[in-house]
């Protein structure tokens, strides 16, 4: 077939037209948003709902937690327009805000702030300004495998916070449930991060950072910290009721799901996470505490923040405003089960479709025992050294020497914030 001049011109015109439509499509804004590496089905629906409402796309880049922090460090330090919005881990608010990486949100959310539970607004606030909006909060509860308890003839732990187990009781139960011959362990913490483990020294009565929020010596290596972390080490090394070297969430979840672990201290996100294990019958109880001390639970969660240098300021603000709505927060709760930060959702959901008794426990902890991580601009450094120290203690390093070293290193790094 021969192509005539007329056909050629028509073809050319069509191609040009299609090309320009394609470009126009590409010009609709896409917000760049480094996000946590949660399963796609817990992230994509949220972004899709926002796009449906506003036509603005959100390119959520799902990264494992350590990678997320490092990616953000690299991109924010470049001080250019990307990312547009990003997930802020609560205790890192001060670090980002002090370095000019977060937009102040007070004015933008002025009419909305009273819709939030006041305690959830603490972590996103630095220097009396709100820099990051809470997408929820968190607490830690004790999950236990009902079948393993029944097999051992043990009574199930009470879900009543007033009858909370002590760590001493938890240890003796864990000993009864540990069976080395079939690689079954009694108890584990979901991971080895300060977020989870600081509750131990805090329950023992330790102050985990100096009053200036910049001093580690005497706190990170204080006597109460050393004693509590020695207890943690003995759980793994002396009593051998907890698996050694399981630093990551995935491993401990897998062990609990497959019945190799009788109890796990973990977050409410496991309510969704454990669904994949068929036949797993689990119960929940409040976080244990030391008999000599007081009940303390970890708290704080993910926030959303805006890069003040974004080239898409209006769209970025629209995204954050939309996330603060009841519908968006409701959807987010369905997807990931973080304790909500909006008062209204608590009120609407109480005694409806919250999975009982989890949410009674969560509500109690948030009101009475939740203890936030240190609000220091040097939290990155603090967490990094302390996490390494906690891992070393888990695998058998000398507790005092390890914490001395961590304290020394943290103090060296904190100099720049003084």
């Amino acid at each position: 077939m021969q192509i005539g001049r007329r056909q050629f011109m028509a073809g050319l015109a069509t191609t040009t037209l299609l090309g320009s439509i394609g470009r126009a499509g590409a010009q609709s804004t896409t917000l760049s948003a480094p996000w946590m590496g949660w399963p796609e089905e817990q992230v994509a629906p949220l972004m899709a709902a926002f796009e449906k409402e506003t036509g603005i796309k959100v390119a959520a880049e799902r990264l494992p937690i350590a990678e997320l922090f490092k990616t953000l460090e690299v991109r924010l330090q470049a001080r250019n327009e990307i990312p547009d919005v990003y997930l802020v881990d609560g205790p890192l608010t001060a670090s980002y805000a002090a370095r000019g990486h977060l937009l102040v949100l007070d004015e933008m959310l002025a009419d909305d702030l009273e819709r939030f539970l006041p305690s959830t607004l603490v972590q996103g606030t630095y220097d009396e300004k709100l820099y990051a909006m809470p997408l929820g909060t968190s607490t830690q509860i004790l999950f236990y495998n009902k079948k393993l308890f029944a097999e051992a003839g043990l009574p199930e732990p009470s879900a009543d916070p007033a009858k909370r187990m002590t760590w001493e009781e938890a240890l003796s139960i864990a000993q009864a449930l540990t069976k080395p011959e079939i690689s079954q362990f009694g108890i584990a913490f979901e991971n080895c991060n300060p977020y989870q483990l600081l509750a131990l020294p805090q329950s023992w009565g330790a102050e985990v950072i100096g009053p200036d929020q910049l001093t580690a010596a005497g706190y990170v290596n204080g006597d109460a910290m050393v004693d509590a972390m020695t207890w943690y080490q003995e759980l793994h090394q002396t009593h051998k009721v907890a698996p050694v070297g399981t630093f990551q969430t995935g491993v401990t979840q897998e062990m609990f799901g497959s019945g190799k672990l009788a109890m796990i201290v973990g977050g409410t996100w496991n309510l969704v996470g454990f669904e994949k294990f068929e036949g797993l019958d689990f119960g929940v109880a409040p976080h244990p505490y030391f008999a000599k001390g007081t009940p303390v639970t970890p708290t704080g969660s993910w926030h959303i923040g805006i890069n003040p240098r974004t080239a898409h300021m209006e769209e970025a603000k629209a995204f954050v405003r939309w996330l603060s709505t009841r519908d968006a927060m409701d959807l987010w709760f369905e997807l990931r089960q973080y304790p909500p930060s909006l008062r209204q959702i608590w009120e609407e959901r109480a005694s409806t479709n919250f999975i009982d008794p989890v949410w009674e426990i969560v509500q109690h902890e948030l009101e009475h025992t939740a203890t936030p991580r240190p609000a220091t601009p040097g939290y990155r450094e603090y967490e990094d050294f302390l996490k390494t120290a906690m891992q070393d203690i888990n695998t058998g390093a000398d507790v005092r020497a390890t914490l001395d070293r961590a304290a020394q290193n943290i103090d060296r790094e904190m100099r720049k914030y003084r």
Partner: protein, 288 residues
């Protein structure tokens, strides 16, 4: 027409440009950057030798330096010896030798990151199959990279698994380049197998071995991914090599100046050691 005098330079230009852009410029930037610091709000300023003074005063840095040197003191001779032994094994044209050669080269096809993740699973104390095997044969479970005493050696093992096949290829090429007449002459002179190896193979392999040792040293001083993925420098700093410290300074503590100072120190060490290795591996004739 371009004069023939310039022709070689013309052909060399792309490679030289690549060397300049991708090798020398970053080195100059790194050395320059090691004299700078960034304030909390991101302003870049000249700080002179402040970053180096910080390192001199930092016990973590000195421990890391010791770990890096010890690691290299072990891994480079081990990798060279293993690669050479493998090359000798698969040098002879035995039936099916191509199969073993392929097997030995296969780890090259697995990226360093993936191999670290795989070994992490393989050696895991709770879910990994390796300890099951060790218990079965009666040795008992080992903590591997989760133990202060074993972590560095575990990493050396992983790196050697990954690298030995690659270095073997260079040594195999070297073995093939030794003319068979030399061996025939030695045999006629009455040399036995060991003597042929000691007085013919080894001296003639000096150059390929020097190349492998130097290239391997340069790579192993920059050893990083398995440390990052498996141990994060622990337990108790036992695997905290300088590259990991440089990475941590830049990406966790946002202190690019200090990170570049560590890189500069590393560069200096590699340069000195490579010069020493070249001297050491010189043949007696060259040394004169």
């Amino acid at each position: 027409m371009i004069s023939s005098r310039w022709t070689p330079f013309l052909f060399l230009a792309p490679a030289l440009a690549g060397l300049l852009i991708f090798r020398l410029t970053p080195i100059l930037v790194a050395v320059g950057g090691s004299l700078s610091g960034v304030s909390l709000m991101g302003e870049l300023r000249y700080v002179g030798l402040e970053n180096f003074e910080y390192l001199a005063d930092d016990p973590e840095f000195w421990e890391s330096l010791r770990t890096t040197l010890y690691f290299n003191l072990l891994i480079n001779p081990i990798q060279l010896a293993v690669a050479f032994a493998l090359a000798l094994l698969v040098f002879r044209p035995l039936p099916g030798v191509w199969f073993y050669r392929t097997l030995l080269v296969l780890p090259m096809a697995v990226s360093t990151g993936i191999s670290a993740v795989l070994f992490g699973l393989f050696l895991d104390g709770n879910l990994g199959p390796m300890n099951g095997f060790l218990e079965w044969i009666g040795i008992g479970a080992q903590p591997f990279h989760r133990s202060h005493d074993q972590a560095l050696y575990t990493l050396i093992g992983i790196a050697t698994w990954k690298g030995a096949g690659y270095w073997m290829l260079f040594l195999l090429a070297g073995l093939y380049s030794i003319p068979s007449t030399v061996y025939e002459a030695a045999t006629i002179d009455g040399a036995n197998g060991w003597q042929r190896f000691r007085y013919v193979t080894l001296p003639l392999m000096r150059k390929p071995m020097a190349f492998v040792l130097v290239a391997d040293t340069a790579i192993n001083f920059l050893f990083f991914a398995p440390v990052y993925i498996l141990t994060s420098g622990g337990p108790s700093g036992s695997t905290s090599v300088l590259m990991f410290q440089a990475y941590r300074a830049a990406f966790t503590f946002s202190d690019i100046g200090r990170s570049l100072a560590i890189s500069t120190v590393l560069l200096g060490i590699i340069a000195i050691i490579v010069v020493l290795e070249f001297r050491f591996m010189r043949s007696p004739e060259e040394a004169k």
